[in-house]
Amino acid sequence: MEFFLQLLINGLSIGLLYGLSALGFVMIFKSSSVLNFAHGQLLAIGAFFFLVLVSWLQVPVALAFLITLAGSFVLGFTVERIFLRPLIGESLIFVIMLTVGLASMFKGLLLFFFGGNLQTYPDFLPAWLALQMGNIYVAPVYVASSLMGGIFLLLFGLFFKYSPQGIFMRSVADNQTAAMSLGVHVKKVFALSWAIASLVAAMSGIVLGIINGINVHEISSIGLKVFPVVILGGLDSIGGAIIGGIIIGLLETFTSGYISPSLRDVIPYIVLVVILLIKPYGLFGLVEIERV
């Protein structure tokens, strides 16, 4: 029973991380229908930016966090502006391959500057954040990441529901042509959604970095784990990303705990295929019925 509970807690916390990582991905897909293969690298860039500020330049943690968020906002904006904008209206393969190309560019640059070794942040989370329930121990990072995930989710919920920009973004996601004819600046919305996605990615990257340490290869591979998560939750559902992430996280830890640790990395993809075959739009995705 204790084993089960520990697995449950581990699964929940890993799943929450997957969900957080998937948030930015969903945001880009929702507004511009771009499948972003460079998402893992966006996570890594955020994590390394924070590392440079905190460990090398000794900036206070809170300030460094804000600077990282601002920096990655600008990065996302720039990437959309330079690379993605010329491809509006181009066919799917070019958009996919462009993000794949971006992924290897970013990865190459990160490896060039930081190398492939594991790096860690200085320990800055207060110990009182840890939770102790009987024999189950929850480390401070997990509590902090849950809190941060919750706060961001709330902020995004409010942003999408009430702010004009958020409403524009939803309208573009819903119907691009109609939004355009109603005077929504679609290109601005694309740029904004990349910027926000990059910001969320940086935040998730930092959390990942605190928990597992920062390693380019490790964090980049999370960018691919995002696919089962978002397919399960529905490609265009933000809440679905979180729930999908938690399900995939639980699935992974229970598989490695009860069946076989080596199956852990492939089980999400097996689930992915099954879901694509029986319910391609995921649990919460928008169903577009098309009969051929």
């Binding site: 499948l35 690379f83 794949v100 190309g101 190459g108 492939g116 696919f227 391609p280 051929v292």
Partner: protein, 356 residues
């Protein structure tokens, strides 16, 4: 010799047969024959062993890229699992050669057929999915195949890898780069002819119709699921054949090379060469293999140069950067790829001096 003349300045085709002809003029046919004679008669004898090795792996990559172009460029189904199919081919070839003890000329096409079957299994989701959902399904296929290759140890020997016996064809031991050169490039030539002719048949036309508009294709009576599966099968056959040739050429294989990175490399070949262009696939294979080897050469040179060795070590990561940059630049600046550049160069000469 009916029409031994230069390319005309306009479109003067008078019949469908003209339109469908592999070569627009006999002039083109003569050039093609000259090219093939030079390729087999002169190139292997003037190139150093290293160049010969690079040519061989380029030829193998070109076969796989041709297959992927049939799937992506002609049928419009994006597959991120081609690297894994290549691996299936390599393993199928190796297992047929060692465990079953089949000769070279049986196990290579046999590997192609096995890979075609595997490709059909992983292409089956295309019955329900299209576009990016299908792409993600093939991505999952890539990871699942990788997992099976590593963990089905009774068959694939897992991470230990498999050593292959020396290949022999018609009683001739294929033990040198030179002999492999002939086998590889003869296969490439044959597979190119098959691919170009396939696109002239009803099957190829159906592929193109599905790419252009699947709903309209279905409306015109093309059973699209059948043709999508067929396209997956043909494309995987190419990958499997290339993989088996690669396994024989390398003599020992392990599970390492067949990652998502390899799949991405093949897609890069297809895009940089030119989507939906048969010569484009070969250009792309030459470009990417050349880029890989060139960058490796630069990196090695820097490693050995005193004072720059630390920098050279970092350069290894810049290879990945340069690779990504090439993809991004081609997509942004010349999305039709090298085939389009080649067409522009040719028509510049053809229309000279009034090239506007």
């Amino acid at each position: 010799m009916r029409r031994l003349h230069f390319h005309p300045c306009g479109n003067y085709k008078e019949s469908y047969a003209d339109e469908l002809a592999l070569f627009g003029t006999d002039f083109g046919r003569v050039w093609a024959i000259v090219g093939v004679v030079l390729l087999f008669g002169a190139v292997p004898f003037i190139s150093s062993p290293y160049i010969l090795y690079v040519l061989n792996i380029t030829g193998i990559a070109a076969i796989a890229a041709l297959g992927l172009n049939i799937l992506i460029g002609f049928t419009g189904q994006i597959s991120l699992g081609h690297g894994a199919f290549f691996g299936v081919g390599a393993y199928a070839g190796a297992i047929l050669a060692t465990t079953c003890g089949l000769p070279f000329w049986v196990s290579v096409p046999g590997a192609g057929i096995i890979t075609a079957l595997v490709g059909m299994v992983f292409g089956a989701p295309s019955g329900r999915l299209k576009g990016l959902y299908l792409t993600i399904a093939t991505l999952a296929g890539q990871f699942i195949i990788e997992y099976i290759l590593v963990h089905w140890e009774s068959l694939t020997k897992g991470t230990m890898g498999i050593m292959l016996p020396a290949a022999s064809l018609f009683g001739l031991e294929l033990n040198s780069d030179l002999r492999f050169f002939y086998v590889i490039f003869a296969s490439l030539l044959a597979m190119t002819l098959v691919a170009s002719n396939l696109m002239r048949t009803r099957y190829g036309r159906a592929f193109i119709a599905i790419r252009d508009n699947d709903r309209a294709a279905e409306g015109m009576g093309i059973p699209i699921f059948f043709y999508k599966l067929l396209s997956f099968a043909v494309s995987s056959f190419y990958a499997g054949l290339a993989g088996a040739l690669w396994a024989y050429y390398m003599r020992s294989i392990s599970t390492e090379p067949f990652t998502l990175g390899l799949s991405v490399e093949y897609i890069a070949m297809v895009i940089i060469g030119g989507l939906g262009s048969i010569p484009g696939s070969i250009f792309g294979a030459v470009f990417i293999t050349g880029l890989n080897e060139g960058l490796r050469f630069v990196t090695d040179a820097m490693m050995n140069f005193p004072g720059l060795s630390g920098f050279g070590l970092n350069m290894a990561s810049l290879r990945e950067f340069a690779f990504g940059l090439a993809i991004v630049l081609f997509i942004l600046l010349e999305p039709k790829g090298l085939a389009e550049l080649w067409r522009i160069v040719r028509s510049t000469f053809r229309l000279w001096p009034f090239s506007y």
